[in-house]
Structures are given as structure tokens and as C-alpha cells.
């Protein structure tokens, strides 16, 4: 099915969606911030 193949090809071409370094930095920053909140919350609970 050529049409389906073309659509799959178009979809795959859009992956990976984000691969810029800046994104990775922000992502990791957000990741660590949230883990820090979790850590502090555990402290508070204790």
C-alpha cells in the first residue's frame, strides 16, 4: 500500500521529535528540580 508507506515514512521522519542539546539541558534541569522537590518532601514527612 504505497499511500500507507508514505504516511509511515512521513511519521518516522518526524522522530525524534526533539533532539536539540538545549532541550536536553532543560529537560534534565526540570527532571532534577522535580526529584529535588520529592527529596525535600520526604525530608518534611520524616
Amino acid at each position: 500500500d504505497h499511500s500507507l508507506l508514505r504516511q509511515v515514512s512521513s511519521l518516522l521522519r518526524r522522530l525524534p521529535t526533539m533532539e536539540s542539546e538545549k532541550f536536553q539541558d532543560d529537560f534534565l534541569m526540570e527532571f532534577n528540580d522535580t526529584l529535588l522537590i520529592t527529596y525535600l518532601a520526604m525530608f518534611t514527612n520524616c
Binding site: 525524534p16 529537560f27 526540570e30 527532571f31 522535580t34 522537590i37 520529592t38 518532601a41 518534611t44 514527612n45
Partner: protein, 313 residues
């Protein structure tokens, strides 16, 4: 069958109005059924208010001990805490809207009002209670609904409460406290003083076959929006507010603890209170709730990253 609820039975409504069963029992109404249309309109309207309170009216009917909300419309009123009684312009709008609805064949009457509590939970404040009591005196059956748009985003489910007030001076039997919710420190007094003057109703939702069809069509769009949004970003201010509120509560708990230590032995009344959830336990619960919502937000980000960013050609 699913659509039968949309038929308006005038005779039944007139009969119910004449009998007024709600005057016999303050707890007569126990359930609320809200249509998908009304829910969407109210939540979207509440969300559009940002951090300001907005209000509107609900149209519907009664069905035994349930109030059925068929539709809702916004009122040109903001900041309800200051002006919970919709002033003249809102009244004029209300009357116009209701009359036009009748002409358009929508026969439902106004059965209640809704307003938003952005970020501080679904309950009735002192002013809300007095407004609702007034409405229940003159506009029965009448319902009060409160929606928290901010927590809706944070929790990923609609934070909504439906309430009816008790008559003046009525002492409700000790009933179990409804679902626990975090009340900000600056609202705790307003919440605590009045929380016995009203009760909450069970809320269920319904949608018509046309609603189903429309929601199916919108499903993809909904998913795209969900996938491309992140509660961590959308609710940063709210979370910051929650954490600072938590810190204040901790401060207060610590002070109180110091007082009790200075105080003499615990009196029996004090000991009884201990059986209720201690303040610290509540604070722990608040803290866990904040953390869980944050971790949920983070999990969705991590899952999206793995699914859409790790594919290599």
C-alpha cells in the same frame, strides 16, 4: 435511552414544585447529575478566569432526590468573593438569557449557580454560604457548585464540588467529613467556621449520543493537546503557592507544638482532638499530595521523551 434524560417533563417538574419535598428534609437532595456539555462549559469558563473567581448559572431540573444540570452559562461577573451577589447588570443578563432560552425551546429553569476557587479547593466560604442560603429561601430547588480549575490541571481530573446549605440554626448530625482536601492557611478559618452549614452531594455525569459522537471526533485533538502540554509547566505558580503554604503550616504547627509542651498535662478535650487527624498528619498528607502530582507530571515527561525522542534512523 441514554438521551431520555434530555426530555423535559413539564408536568413532573410542576408537580415537584408544588410538593416541595425538599422542605421536609434538609438532606433531601443527595445526588447531582451534570451533563457533559454543562461540565465542559463550566470548567472551561472557570479556567478562563485564571486566578480570578468567575461565576455563572446552571439550568436543569429535579429528578427525585437528584438535581440534574443540563446546561450552564457564564455571568459577566468577576471576583465573586467581593461581589458574590451578581449586581444589576448580571441580573438583567440572567433574565434575558433565561427568557431567550424558553423561546428557543429550552424549558429548563435555573437550578443553581457555580463559581470557581482557583487553587484553593472546592468548598463554600462564609459569603458563599449566605448567598446559597438566600437562594434556597427564594429560588428552590437551588444548587451551589464550586470548581477549582487550577487543581483540575494539576491533578488531571476535574476538581468539583456540589453543595446545599442547611436552614438557619439547623444542627446537622455528625456525618463523616467529605474527601480530604488541602485548604490554604489563609482560607482555613473561612472554611472551618462554615463547613458545618452545608453538605456535599454526590456528582455523576452523563452525555448524549450526540455528545459521544462529538467527543469522539475531538478525541484526537484532545490527545494531541494532552501530549503537548505538561502540568509541571502549566501549574508552576500553583505549586509554588502550595509549597509556601506548606511551609507556613509547618511553622504554625511547630509553634503550637511548643505551646502544648509549655502547657500543663493534656486535658481530656485535648486528648480527644488528638484522635482526629493531627495537624502534622494533615501537613504530611498535603506534602505527599504535592509530591505525587509533581512526580506524575515528571513521569509523563519522561515517558514522552522515551517514546518520541529515542527513535534513531
Amino acid at each position: 435511552d441514554a438521551d431520555a434524560i434530555y426530555a423535559y417533563d413539564e408536568a413532573a417538574q410542576t408537580k415537584s414544585q408544588q410538593e416541595k419535598p425538599w422542605t421536609q428534609d434538609p438532606n433531601y437532595f443527595k445526588k447531582v447529575r451534570i451533563s457533559a456539555l454543562a461540565l465542559l462549559k463550566m470548567v472551561v469558563h472557570a479556567r478562563s478566569g485564571g486566578t480570578i473567581e468567575v461565576m455563572g448559572l446552571m439550568q436543569g431540573k429535579t429528578d427525585g432526590n437528584a438535581i440534574v444540570v443540563m446546561d450552564a452559562f457564564a455571568l459577566p461577573v468577576e471576583g465573586t468573593e467581593t461581589r458574590v451577589n451578581a449586581q444589576a447588570d448580571a441580573y438583567e443578563y440572567m433574565v434575558d438569557y433565561s427568557q431567550t432560552n424558553k423561546q428557543a425551546g429550552r424549558l429548563e429553569n435555573v437550578v443553581g449557580w457555580y463559581h470557581s476557587h482557583p487553587g484553593y479547593g472546592c468548598w463554600l466560604s462564609g459569603i458563599d454560604v449566605s448567598t446559597q442560603m438566600l437562594n434556597q429561601q427564594f429560588q428552590e430547588p437551588f444548587l451551589a457548585v464550586v470548581i477549582d480549575p487550577t487543581r483540575t490541571v494539576s491533578a488531571g481530573k476535574v476538581e468539583i464540588g456540589a453543595f446545599r446549605t442547611y436552614p438557619e440554626g439547623y444542627k446537622p448530625p455528625d456525618e463523616p467529613v467529605s474527601e480530604y482536601q488541602t485548604i490554604p492557611l489563609n482560607k482555613i478559618e473561612d472554611f472551618g467556621v462554615h463547613c458545618k452549614q452545608y453538605y456535599s452531594l454526590d456528582i455523576t455525569y452523563f452525555k448524549s449520543s450526540l455528545d459521544c459522537h462529538l467527543l469522539d471526533l475531538l478525541w484526537n485533538k484532545y490527545w494531541v493537546n494532552t501530549l503537548s502540554s505538561s502540568p509541571l509547566l502549566a501549574n508552576r505558580d500553583y505549586v509554588a503557592g502550595q509549597i509556601s503554604d506548606l511551609a507556613e503550616k509547618l511553622e504554625q504547627a511547630e509553634n503550637q507544638l511548643a505551646h502544648t509542651r509549655l502547657g500543663s498535662f493534656l486535658g481530656p478535650s485535648q486528648r480527644k482532638k488528638e484522635h482526629e487527624e493531627s495537624q502534622l498528619a494533615k501537613i504530611t498528607r498535603d506534602s505527599s499530595k504535592i509530591t505525587v502530582e509533581q512526580v506524575h507530571g515528571l513521569m509523563s515527561q519522561v515517558i514522552k521523551d522515551i517514546l518520541f525522542n529515542s527513535v534513531r534512523h
